[in-house]
């Protein structure tokens, strides 16, 4: 009954956070634990009382400031210097800029939103199909969860109680592998379809573009440096990054005025609350998981099937693809980590870092997979195309990520080598 209600509400277009909370209410009233109702609102409130979550509005604010302050534009320009003249150059630029941005924004959804607005019109003007343009941007957004600073890694680190800085190190090689696989995909598509050809920049223009983008590169340096060197927590480095982004946009690039800030804070509050409210609702939904002892039941079931960690990870991958399709990345991460992590580390001896990388990529993949891929819908609404048109151009990227994911599962050293 509770499961049926969950599915009906979810596919009936009820907001996901309300679906989670109402499912929990229905479960409580059926299980006879009515005393839980007394602390229901308190439990929702408690879901937001976490220091690590503060990083979410701060990273979102940094992303907004970078975009409004002209930093995104300059990074795209710098990428143009490197690959602009190749056939299909703009596709490469889109991916490269996404890689830069992934190191800064840290949330696939907001990255897709920001980059769709910046890149899709530009690609369409040069003669690309709009669905393909949106698909490349959405695929680039897949890099956000793995290249530090990643919002999923922040939340996973909080849940798994492991150092977030080390988690970021673990994501670097898999992130580069994913970026590499995208370049292969683009090359292959480029061979089949004739991409429009771009122009190389003149040497002085190129120099100017690179110089203009250099200050913007301070931001990822500040974030990653602060965290890895242990000077600042991810939350603090996010705040410092937003300050740098604001000062650069205002004083260096002159595109941002203090009077713009109120609109930016408004958007940050709106977008961050979508995510954090989901975390709050997931906290009451967690009762369902705990009272039904789902981790224990699941562990008993899976250990009876296999004792091989790789096979276990394959099972997890299948399950998470399904979950990732149904529930947004962060909410899904919050739901599955407490269930799966004890099984992975306890029963199979998998490193929590490798496991974190695997489930984060996995859930990000789910962001772009129908029926629920939030990223897919955001890319669609930002670039004004049907989700199906994006999907038609997106599937080669999804397969590439799937292959990288298999490699990360099979070779633990891919995520662990930088940690030693």
């Amino acid at each position: 009954m509770t499961a049926a209600l969950f599915l009906v509400l979810l596919f009936g277009a009820v907001p996901i956070s309300i679906v989670l909370a109402m499912t929990a209410m229905s479960y409580i009233s059926q299980s006879g634990n009515a005393v839980l109702f007394d602390s229901f609102a308190q439990q929702m409130f408690a879901g937001t009382e976490n220091y690590g979550l503060l990083a979410i509005p701060l990273f979102m604010l940094t992303g907004e400031l970078m975009n409004e302050g002209g930093m995104t534009k300059r990074l795209v320009n710098a990428a143009r210097v490197l690959v602009g003249g190749f056939r299909g150059g703009l596709v490469w630029i889109n991916l490269l800029a996404n890689m830069f941005m992934a190191a800064i924004i840290g949330s696939a959804v907001s990255q897709i939103a920001v980059m769709s607005r910046a890149m899709v019109p530009a690609m369409e003007r040069e003669g690309y199909d709009r669905g393909f343009a949106a698909a490349t941007t959405a695929a680039g957004g897949l890099l956000a969860p793995v290249i530090p600073p990643s919002m999923l890694f922040v939340i996973y680190g909080v849940l798994a109680q492991i150092p977030i800085g080390d988690m970021f190190l673990a994501g670097i090689l898999p992130g580069l592998l994913m970026a590499g696989s995208f370049f292969v995909v683009v090359t292959l598509i480029g061979l089949a379809a004739e991409f429009p050809k771009g122009d190389w920049m003149s040497a002085p223009d190129a120099l100017r573009a690179i110089l203009a983008a250099l200050p913007a590169a301070l931001i990822p340096v500040a974030i990653i440096g602060g965290i890895v060197l242990g000077i600042a927590t991810p939350t603090e480095s996010a705040a410092v990054a937003s300050l740098i982004a604001f000062l650069l946009g205002w004083l260096v690039y002159g595109e941002l005025k203090p009077s713009h800030l109120s609109a930016l804070f408004l958007r940050t509050a709106q977008n961050a609350s979508l995510v954090i409210f989901m975390v709050a609702a997931a906290n009451v939904f967690g009762w369902v998981v705990i009272y039904e002892a789902i981790p224990q039941k699941l562990a008993a079931l899976i250990t009876s099937l296999t004792s091989d960690p790789f096979v276990f990870l394959l099972i997890v991958m299948g399950a998470l693809l399904l979950v990732g399709m149904l529930i947004d990345g962060i909410a899904a991460l919050i739901l599955v980590t407490p269930i799966l992590l004890p099984i992975a580390t306890g029963d199979y001896g998998i490193s929590p870092f490798q496991f974190g990388v695997v489930i984060s990529i996995n859930l990000a993949l789910g962001l772009l997979t129908p029926p629920v891929g939030v990223g897919l819908y955001i890319a669609a609404s930002m670039s004004d195309v049907k989700p199906t048109a994006i999907l038609a151009a997106l599937w080669p990227f999804l397969i590439a990520v799937l292959l990288v994911l298999l490699a990360v599962c099979y070779f633990p050293s891919l995520s662990l080598i930088l940690l030693d």
């Binding site: 009820v14 976490n50 603090e236 408004l266 509050a269 709106q270 409210f277 029926p371």
Partner: protein, 181 residues
């Protein structure tokens, strides 16, 4: 006509919620930066972390209520998008009704939690209230802020009330006419 007035109230309330939420977002940024600066000078202020977290909590619930008015929430629209126009309108009304049910349930849950009538009956004496109800909501302290925690918890009934207002307004007023913030 009544729907229009209600819609205007809902709109004004949602804008107020978003205004406060934006101020709180700015406060979060300043508080965390303050923490970085004071720690670098080895003069950390102990209550800043907790203040930043509760600023975030209030921001979240205020904006979450306003999201119902502005239809910003993330939902799975795959199936409903396939519906023809009249059926889609009905489906939206049903979602509005479900959101209203949720809002009313939240109000009821907050009532069960805060027990305002019992508190009044105990003459607003929290010790007498606890003896009657074994509900310790009004005694719980915050860790570093030096105030009772129920002041912060008040965001939950505020959230439930805002949600109810927006949900009722959405139901009596066609959604397509709601404007962006």
């Amino acid at each position: 006509m009544r729907g229009r007035v209600l819609h205007r109230i809902s709109h004004a309330w949602a804008r107020a919620e978003m205004c406060v939420a934006a101020v709180l977002a700015a406060a979060i940024t300043c508080l965390v930066l303050l923490n970085v600066v004071t720690r670098a000078m080895s003069a950390s202020i102990f209550w800043v972390d907790e203040a930043a977290i509760y600023a975030m909590t209030w921001m979240t619930f205020l904006a979450a209520s306003a999201a119902v008015h502005f239809s910003h929430s993330v939902s799975v629209t795959l199936l409903t998008d396939m519906l023809p126009r009249p059926a889609l309108d009905i489906a939206r009304r049903v979602v509005d009704a479900i959101v209203l049910i949720f809002a009313l349930l939240m109000l009821w849950l907050c009532w069960r939690w805060f027990l305002p009538l019992d508190l009044a009956r105990a003459g607003f004496d929290s010790v007498a209230f606890q003896g009657e109800t074994f509900n310790f909501i009004y005694a719980e302290p915050t860790l570093t802020l030096g105030i009772r925690k129920f002041w912060l918890w008040l965001i939950m009934p505020l959230f439930a009330a805002g949600l109810t207002l927006h949900a009722v307004s959405n139901l009596v007023h066609p959604r397509s006419e709601t404007a962006a913030p």
